[in-house]
Symmetry: C2
Subunit: 329 residues, 2 copies
């Protein structure tokens, strides 16, 4: 067991990003310029520990006392990735608010009470979402554009960003929020998320399977690889909080690409045969959801803070082939 | 007692705006195009009823069951003006969140449960604040500028705006939020609010008393009279909610004026002798608070919805002289 070094708590550690983050940190052995101490990996389903000495916990932030227990060892860095996803927050109003708002608040309140008791002031890294932005949107969204969500999930994430600002300004914690681009290519099986096609039209053809494209080729959106998302989470741990000023959440850099540009990148890497595996089956229901999503950002603040992403859709495809397919097609 | 007509609930009815609103509605006898029914006036201190048949209640929204009791008679229009003010929300972190966030949420949740039970869907008019905007700010703030508060009060109001959007989008209620300009001239005795000088440098000299000016003459801010604020609250009751779209809070029109322009308006109306009663006593503490406040807004959305304010600081002074000084200097 690691008894020295910076302790890390990851909430939502069983999710795709949480697992990759824990693996990255274990591989690196460092966090925010210090040696990595014991990691505590928590989620509502059992997470896996990448190292023998790390702790795994099945824990529900909405249960009284859970947040206090999770921070009892005073982790220096807390990753708060735990959330009910957008579709579920929309389908189950009460659960969305309970987990995404009240759960977040329970964590921040536990930290505040610890701060008042013993001066505890951890780096808290909160994953937010492009869903804080709602149509109408400019072609390129600046850092000071209004957060006006059109989903309960987006509302809850925007409220989390506001709380993070206030708790940081008050000195209870040292928060950084990251609005993740849409992850592309998301590994694993196709899921039912409305945005799932953005990954599946690349992921399935790369391994010889068919994929369905429900929207027009002209639709533009904002992407980063899983690897870039995890790199940003790691980078955030070592940032000087003062460099963020009072607005503690930034939109991460990404690749702005149309569906047509995604497909052309696939063609360059895997040829016409792969592209031929994409079937166009227009779905007005999917278009109604994703049609108003952000198309591109001017990530001036995140760029200045040293965050980066892939330079092109080709690089995103290459990252997937390397990280998920063993480097071979 | 009024047994027909539209019932109205005013939360925060003992405050300056709440009292003036209740008086206005009682005088008009109408609300949102309908006859005014019974009014319920609630506050944490006992409100006064402008008509014999109206109900007054001492009630604390943060107490379990209070919100349910307040809406038991299913008022068609609810004015939610109740809040802990900015100075107190900053001094007492827990009270600010309890009243401004949890109290607002308790009200919205009571309405949601009533909606699920019997289809209840009231017009809810929520007073928000310019405090949702924090520096750095453009000279003229557009409707789509980021809400990035620099006070706990502003954070809580921004969260209230977000909740109002979500509960409205879900169909639980029909919400309209109004960001009130700084009220000028606020009637009554000088108070300790950091912004108090904006009123006192006019109010006190008009009645032959001295006032202290703690900031430079060049400071610019956004004002409306109490009368304009109440007129906006009344106007909001009759609006077609669909005209607001998904963003249910608007910044109200106002007068953008520098301190120097305030003083020149005072000179035109009350002469050099009145202006001579303003003593300049620079206060860096006050300037630190108000120096980053909004200077002006492009109120495109509110204008299109028919909201209006005074055209000049002279008109704001004239409104005060008519409404508070019996029309005479």
């Amino acid at each position: 067991m690691e008894t020295t070094g910076a302790r890390v708590l990851i909430l939502g550690a069983a999710g795709m990003i949480g697992r990759k983050l824990a693996d990255w940190l274990a591989r690196d052995g460092r966090i925010g310029g210090a040696a990595l101490g014991q990691m505590t990996l928590a989620d509502v389903v059992p997470p896996q520990a990448p190292r023998p000495g790390d702790t795994t916990l099945t824990a529900d932030l909405t249960r009284p006392g859970t947040a206090e227990r999770l921070i009892a060892a005073r982790p220096a860095v807390i990753y708060h990735l735990a959330a009910v996803v957008s579709g579920e927050a929309e389908a189950d109003f009460e659960k969305g608010y309970a987990v995404n708002l009240d759960g977040t608040r329970a964590l921040l309140e536990a930290i505040r009470h610890a701060h008042l008791a013993d001066g505890y002031c951890p780096r808290v890294i909160f994953t937010s979402s492009l869903a804080v932005y709602g149509a109408p949107l400019p072609d390129v969204i600046p850092d000071d554009h209004i957060r006006a969500p059109l989903s309960s999930y987006g509302i809850q994430k925007a409220m989390g960003e506001l709380l993070l600002d206030d708790y940081t300004r008050r000195g209870f914690l040292d928060g950084i929020g990251l609005r993740l681009p849409t992850i592309c290519i998301r590994p694993g099986a196709p899921n039912k998320a409305a945005s799932g096609f953005y990954s599946s039209i690349l992921r399935e053809p790369l391994v010889g399977q068919e994929a369905v494209l429900p929207v027009p080729d002209t639709l533009r959106h904002w992407f980063a690889s899983p690897r870039a998302a995890v790199a940003a989470l790691v980078h955030a741990a070592g940032l000087d909080g003062a460099a963020l000023g009072t607005r503690r959440t930034v939109t991460l850099p990404g690749v702005s690409a149309t569906v047509a540009e995604q497909i052309e990148a696939l063609r360059r890497i895997a040829g016409d045969a792969a592209v031929a595996r994409i079937r166009r089956v227009p779905d007005p229901g999917v278009l109604a959801i994703v049609g108003g999503w952000p198309r591109a950002f001017a990530t001036t603040r995140a760029d200045a803070l040293g965050f980066s992403a892939e330079a092109s859709m080709d690089a995103i495809l290459a990252a997937h082939i390397k990280d998920e397919l063993g480097g071979r097609l």
